[in-house]
Amino acid sequence: MNRKAAATIQPKPPRRLKHYLTGAIVVLLLWGSSVQTEATIGELVEGFPNMFDLLKEMFPPKWTYFDNIVGAMLETIRMAIVGTTVGALMAIPIALLCASNLNKSPWLRHSVRLILNLIRTVPDLLLAAIFVAIVGIGPLPGTLALSVFSFGLIAKLTYEALEAIDRGPLEAMTSVGANGVQRILFAVVPQIQAHFMSFALYTFEINVRAAAVLGLVGAGGIGHYYEITLGFLEYDKTSVIIVFTLAIVLLIDYASTKLREKLL
């Protein structure tokens, strides 16, 4: 009898108040943000015809403009290649210093991580603007900005991957009498190199897209031509740049994704 009574005990479900409150807060934040930024749906509807005007002016694209921008597009890609490579190389020692399984000094590890986090908070466009102020207009400040940006991203991704490696081989290398560098070369590098290459390729994808707009602050690449054509209201030329950028980015994304699949 007792057992039967026990079986029918039904605890009350937990209160759902927390979910409702969360929902209310999200709606409040959304509404508050739109009011503060004066973004209203009415304005969007009003502006809608303008969008079509712009699109109309973009067509037909002035394909002959293509010849003028090939050089700038190649420059964009070159900036991305150099920036990613420099950043990736700089990231290697820093990632090793940040990984808790390789750097036993918590003091050093945390200070390097702090600096790394600070670097990653600076947006790439701001980095480019800063470098333009330092070294002047051209592809060099853009490349420097991409280097710093890639460095931050790759170092972060790599040290997280480093902390997830199998520590067995490290132990084995200690037992054969290897020194610190030899341990890394034989137990860490083979475990991490495919991941590292994958991170570098992924960063390269991001960099090609980023490099396309760096020209807006005078840091070289195709972005400069966006500014010129938009400034002179030559939207038919802008559309050529957009289509070209789109094609290049898609192509690089596709190639890079395929390569990364092969790596891992």
Binding site: D166, G168, P169, E171, A172, M173, T174, S175, V176, G177, A178, N179, V181, Q182, L185, F186, A187, P190, Q191, A194
Partner: protein
């Protein structure tokens, strides 16, 4: 020769991993250390090549104190002691050959390792080692393409290439099936007999220990409770040692592993 003088290992949480151990292991012996999990077998083995630091006492390897050694000196002593692990500890993405050559890095400068070119003699040693464990045809396969037993034999080859005079094997067959267990243990025995390498193996299986050892050491709660030739390691003796209800100290030790 390996000498342990009054070795005690205290873990930070206060557990005694090893308790005043005195042992001498002579050249060419095939010693099997038996005991329940948490008895301190692994701690003892890892103290010998100082993968674990001991809290008290001294360990001498061929007369040299590994406890007091550091830097280059420590690495040189470690170079003479090969280790085989339960989980093989190979780099899975590297080739079998590279895993075996890893045993040679203790003989070379950092710069030489960086360039990655091993001398002719090292290649010869590596292939000789692979042939000894019958796995030379897999030299250029990736380590993770091999079965567990084959991977453990690669680990044995790594120790051989290392030209170690002592082999420590920490539960080398715990993750293998009975047939591969036999192959791996046979390989270890063969190496011990043909090359005269002092071999210390941790096992939890007493029957297996009796089959291969020349001397058995029994551990319980970090203390040596049996030390003698196989003939003396009878079932009665072991029932006496392990048959009694497990004591609290052993349970505390078991939590750690």
């Amino acid at each position: 020769m390996i000498e342990l003088h009054n070795v005690t290992k205290l873990y930070p949480n206060g557990t005694k991993g090893l308790n005043h151990i005195d042992l001498s292991i002579y050249e060419g012996e095939f010693v099997v250390i038996v005991g329940l999990s948490g008895a301190g077998k692994s701690t003892l083995l890892r103290s010998i090549n100082r993968l674990h630091d001991i809290s008290e006492g001294d360990i001498l390897i061929n007369g040299q104190s590994i406890t007091k050694a550091h830097g280059k000196q420590l690495r040189l002593i470690r170079r003479s002691i090969g280790m085989i692990f339960q989980s093989f500890n190979l780099v899975k993405r590297s080739s079998v050959l590279r895993n075996v050559l890893a045993g040679r890095v203790g003989y070379h400068s950092t710069l030489r390792t960086w360039i990655g070119r091993f001398p002719e003699r090292d290649m010869h040693l590596a292939f000789e080692a692979l042939n000894r464990v019958n796995i030379a045809e897999k030299a250029y396969s990736r380590a993770d393409e091999l079965s567990g037993g084959q991977q453990q034999r690669v680990a044995i080859a790594r120790v051989l290439a290392q030209e170690a005079t002592i082999i420590l094997a920490d539960e080398p067959v715990a993750s293998l099936d009975p047939l591969t267990t036999k192959q791996v243990m046979d390989d270890l025995k063969k190496i011990n007999q043909e090359l005269g390498i002092t071999t210390i193996v941790n096992l939890h299986d007493v029957d297996l220990a009796r089959q291969y050892a020349t001397r058995i050491i029994g551990l319980r709660a970090g203390e040596v409770v049996f030390d003698g030739p196989v003939a003396e390691a009878t079932d009665e003796r072991f029932a006496e040692i392990y048959g009694r209800p497990i004591e609290e100290a052993e349970l505390m030790g078991a939590k750690r592993e």
